[in-house]
Symmetry: C2
Subunit: 272 residues, 2 copies
């Protein structure tokens, strides 16, 4: 790249950092890229850092030393996150979302890239310090949430299948009991999709008794993986015995009046 | 926001634009946000525009007039896209990817957020002018690709289900014949997930004879939707009769030697 003026340099550094969350970028990279002195790069970074922090975009962490550099950590503060999740709550409480069988229609919100990015950033902020190597979810509805969180954590997603596919190669399968329906089900994960001893963050859309999450935890044991966190978009409150103790929920389903088709949500355990 | 110096303003405008592709932002928004004159905002935008264009990040389109403003259009030029897809091709041709039954293992690449963002940007660049209202795919493996493209187009994703779920409410189902296996299958889409007369871009991971894509096209007819484009990551070449004529492929599977476990890919029709 040709020598850039500071203004252009700031634009390029901003886009470069935003596209690579949680990745350490050596100052020499920027210095060589722009043909600029390290001291100028440091000044640029402090401008970006201040703006990112005051605007609630995230943190710029500087790591000193020979192997040092700068890292962008997406970070939405708890109050901004609370507002975002409250907005989501209001949308989900809107009329016509309660479906027969007591299900909540969320596909439109989970299809909207801006809403999804926001939820992903909330999860990534909560689990920023876990040093997760992977985000794991089970097909199908958790997939967009897992990708949204993984994008801000900058780690790959592994998807547990409910039906093992021939295109996965050798798989590890386990049976689990869905806590709410009490039915025995199978989930499987391709052997090659997760190296042993990985640190894994589990993300899912919905948790009733937690049987599916517990199934994923059991499956991870087969891969000698460490579960560094569990995050669900919504938990239900009408559960006699929950199978999973440690988890973060963003929303909680409080009451559901199937006859009047009314639904009442509250904020999840993250915000209590 | 307090009055910002130009340097901080450039950082904030850059992140604001990057987070909202294809969205028209009035200049007055920036002017009010930063307490700056429109002429200063215009100068800032021309700095960002030049950098975005020389670095191949995208275009900044200015719309004149009272309802005017500026729009960031993610745009990867064809040569950069060719390089990115070539890199992907080399990875996919690597050893051990050919699975029994002649399937190609791609889950790791489709799980990697940086690789995925790149493919998403390639699709979004190709279909930038289609004015699609939605990206549609069918579960499961096409989902991450659809979201990656939709993020850069800034439109929602609708997911066609292979098994209709009780959580979808009223659905429209069709039968289709998978062209390669000749089996009759069912796919369905929730009635409320797609308003009538929408413009829809179809994205999927793999196309053999095109039966699944044709099924989605037929399903869209039930929603009075207009198909504005079809993009697949990979097509196969051993097809006697293709059911779909107009589509863009990024990669093409040329040869597959199941005995020697070797696979040969070439670039798709986009790059010919």
């Amino acid at each position: 790249m040709n020598k850039l003026r500071r203004s252009a340099r700031l634009v390029d550094m901003t886009q470069h950092l935003l596209a690579r969350p949680h990745k350490l970028i050596p100052l020499t990279y920027f210095a060589e890229q722009y043909g600029a002195a390290k001291s100028s790069i440091s000044e640029d970074l402090s401008i970006i850092k201040e703006l990112f922090e005051t605007e609630g975009i995230g943190l710029l962490k500087t790591v000193a030393g020979a192997a040092g550099g700068v890292k962008y950590i997406p970070q939405m503060n708890k109050e901004v996150a609370r507002k975002a999740i409250n907005k989501l709550k209001e949308k989900l409480e809107g009329p016509g979302r309660l479906l027969p069988g007591g299900y909540l229609y969320m596909a439109d919100l989970l299809g909207d890239p801006e809403a999804l990015a926001e939820i992903g950033k909330v999860f990534a902020s909560i689990f920023a310090e876990t040093a997760a190597d992977y985000v794991m979810t089970v097909e199908t509805k958790g997939i967009p949430l897992a990708y949204a969180a993984a994008a801000y954590l900058n780690v790959p997603v592994v998807i547990v299948r409910r039906y093992s596919k021939v295109t996965d190669g050798s798989v590890v399968s386990i049976n689990y009991v869905s806590g709410s329906s009490k039915r025995i089900q199978t989930m499987s994960l391709a052997r090659r999709s997760l190296p042993e001893n990985s640190k894994v963050l589990i993300i899912d859309d919905f948790m009733k008794a937690g049987g599916t999450i517990q199934g994923m935890i059991d499956l991870l044991a087969e891969f000698k993986a460490e579960v560094v966190g569990v995050g669900v978009l919504m938990e239900t409150s009408d559960v006699e015995e929950r199978l999973v103790d440690e988890y973060v929920s963003l929303l909680k389903m409080k009451e559901m009046d199937v006859r009047d088709k009314e639904i009442k949500l509250e904020l999840g355990n993250r915000f209590v």
